[in-house]
């Protein structure tokens, strides 16, 4: 099975607190630590496990600049055979539809049976997978948390309210967005990354993909993030202050009063 996994380089929220810059129009990007979007690691792991079982190959793709190459290499160190960097000045500032359009360009150039994305990334929009499927006219399922390969089809589970799971049969080629918890993504060490450090990663732009530059990037977008800001805080919590001992004393009083201690 030929599998394409779409991945994104994002600021790592486990490593940084996200703050607004001094102009108040963007997040503070100096010293940000970046990593692969959490959901995407699960998608790549799932692809590798499928190929281990039924054969084929995994390609990881991202839309970004040269710095995005590092996330492709990381996923290749996990076991993805090929990387593909989609990069062009015309792609800059794309909205979700723009990104899906660019990815669709790469899908059309390939011969993939299955395309995976993470369920969402840092902006929480959860949109690119569903848009890509619609552009390609492929069936789609979001929030997938099991995949079983059957005769020319897949049996999948979608995670829904309350942790229940809706089971479906889906035809291929299809697009699935992967939910966290579907597997346990393997650990990648420095040595693994070194091994793939010199593998050639092809780079393709709008003309390689046969894309009209006005359909993507700034020119093609309908949805525009104008700025980042921190909203006026409501009153919020009463913050307990003092030494740890004093804080614990106040907290215990509260817990007693509210029935939190038995």
């Amino acid at each position: 099975m030929e599998i394409l996994v779409c991945v994104k380089r994002v600021p790592d929220t486990a490593e940084n607190e996200i703050e607004i810059n001094s102009e108040g129009n963007d997040i503070e990007r100096d010293d940000l630590v970046y990593s692969v979007n959490e959901w995407d690691n699960y998608a790549v792991e799932e692809a590798i496990q499928i190929v281990d079982k039924v054969g084929g190959s995994v390609t990881v793709v991202t839309v970004g600049d040269d710095e995005s190459e590092e996330v492709l290499r990381r996923e290749m160190a996990m076991g993805a055979e090929n990387g593909l960097l989609l990069s062009d000045d015309a792609f800059e500032a794309s909205d979700g539809k723009g990104i899906a359009t660019i990815l669709a360009g790469a899908v059309k150039k390939g011969n993939y049976d299955l395309i995976l994305t993470g369920a969402q990334a840092d902006d929480g929009a959860a949109e690119v997978g569903g848009m890509l499927a619609a552009i390609m006219d492929y069936p789609y399922a979001s929030l997938v948390n099991t995949i079983e390969v059957q005769d020319g089809k897949l049996k999948i589970g979608r995670e829904v309210e309350g942790g229940n799971q809706d089971m479906y049969e889906i035809e291929m080629p299809c697009v699935l967005s992967i939910q966290t918890g579907i597997n346990e993504p393997r650990y990648v060490g420095i040595r693994g990354i070194r091994k793939v450090a010199s593998v050639e990663i092809p780079k393709q732009g709008a003309s390689d993909l046969g894309l009209d530059p006005s359909s993507v990037g700034e020119a093609g977008k309908k949805v525009n993030r104008v700025d980042y800001f921190v909203p006026e805080m409501g009153e919020g919590a009463e913050m307990l202050e003092g030494s740890t001992e004093e804080i614990i004393e106040k907290l215990i009083d509260y817990l007693k009063a509210k029935g939190g201690l038995k």
């Binding site: 600021p11 929220t13 607190e17 703050e19 997040i27 539809k97 899906a100 840092d122 902006d123 929480g124 929009a125 959860a126 949109e127 569903g130 848009m131 619609a134 069936p139 399922a141 979001s142 929030l143 979608r158 995670e159 829904v160 309210e161 309350g162 942790g163 229940n164 799971q165 809706d166 089971m167 479906y168 049969e169 889906i170 299809c174 966290t180 918890g181 309908k222 949805v223 525009n224 993030r225 700025d227 980042y228 800001f229 921190v230 409501g234 919020g236 919590a237 913050m239 307990l240 740890t244 804080i247 614990i248 004393e249 907290l251 215990i252 817990l255 509210k258 029935g259 939190g260 201690l261």
Partner: protein, 323 residues
């Protein structure tokens, strides 16, 4: 002005809470619009929901088809494409169904898709100004969307007050005959119910809930120690379950359990809307987090800025001393 629609989720004859929240959101965008509810389903329950919605919405479009005895986004998308006017605005709830349905629908309708909005600033010409959040609520963004060709808008559940005015009095229009071919390449088989766990946290009065801030599996033990000292049960956020450190039945949130304790102690939990969506009944919330700007402090009653790895054992000690 564009035609305005809201997609109504329902289950066993009962409309989802989002049904009347969408009406509030729609009126915030288009104060004078007549808003039409779209109710898709199959059989007797459907009329109950349609009648309920007719009291609040200006019109109800009913779609009765066996394909919708189960809410299938792939089939619903095809049906909606056939019945909706091209440049309309459709609002849905940003939950499991909306996430499945909306992005692809916006492509097929060639309209803007605006995901997970938390507020509406207004409409200027054909530019819709809304507010979203990124990085699990750590920062907000102003988003401007060109809706001249319509829009599909997913609205975050639980942020808009439900419109209880019942000022609709709308007519129910049967659109079942107009939906066209709804055959799809994805076939629904069954729903597998979540497994019950060793404790039923939905019944717990006091919950000590642990999030990714606990850092390592070995540290979970200190949370159990605290819970034991307090006479509480242990629950958690999703990453703890994803890491297989605790069983799924202990997960609080939209894709986990809905709990209604008296006291909820959130340890190293950032406060994502999916997590808080599982916390009901207005409990007394205490949050301990090392980041003073963590969104959880906006919803907690009492906050403590501390490293849980140091704070939790000390708190446990003190509670044990009380005897």
């Amino acid at each position: 002005m564009a035609d305005v629609f809201a997609y109504i989720e329902h289950n066993q004859g009962v409309a989802d809470d989002s049904a009347l929240e969408l009406l509030t959101a729609a009126k915030k965008i288009f104060p004078d619009a007549a808003v039409t509810a779209i109710v898709m389903g199959s059989g007797g329950d459907l009329d109950t929901v349609c009648n309920e919605m007719a009291a609040s919405y200006n019109a109800v479009w009913k779609v009765d088809n066996a394909a919708f005895s189960f809410p299938d986004a792939e089939a619903a998308r095809k049906a909606l494409l056939n019945i909706l006017p091209g440049d309309c605005v459709l609002l849905l709830s940003h939950a499991h169904l909306g996430m499945d349905l909306s992005p692809g629908l916006s492509i097929k309708m060639d309209s803007a898709y605006i995901s997970d909005i938390v507020d509406v600033e207004g409409l200027e010409g054909s530019t819709l100004k809304v507010i979203r959040q990124e990085f699990t609520g750590q920062v907000s963004t102003h988003v401007h969307a060109d809706i001249s060709n319509g829009a599909v808008i997913n609205v975050r559940p639980g942020v808009f007050q439900p419109d209880e005015s019942k000022a609709g009095g709308g007519e129910i229009v049967d659109k079942s005959g107009d939906i066209g071919d709804v055959s799809v390449k994805r076939k629904y088989l069954e729903t597998v119910q979540a497994e019950a766990g060793e404790v039923d946290i939905t019944k717990s009065e006091v919950l000590v809930s642990v999030g990714r801030g606990i850092e390592e599996e070995d540290n979970i033990e200190m949370v159990f120690d605290l819970a034991e000292a307090m006479g509480a049960d242990v629950s958690c956020s999703r990453p703890i379950v994803d890491a297989k450190w605790l069983e799924k039945a202990r997960q609080v949130g939209t894709s986990g359990q809905t709990v209604k304790p008296k006291v909820y102690l959130a340890l190293g939990i950032s406060g994502s809307f999916q997590h808080l969506g599982g916390l009901k009944g207005n409990p007394f919330v205490v949050a301990v987090n090392k980041n003073p700007k963590a969104p959880i402090f906006q919803v907690a009653d009492v906050g403590i800025e501390a490293d849980i790895l140091e704070f939790v054992p000390e708190l446990t000690e003190k509670i044990k001393e009380l005897g």
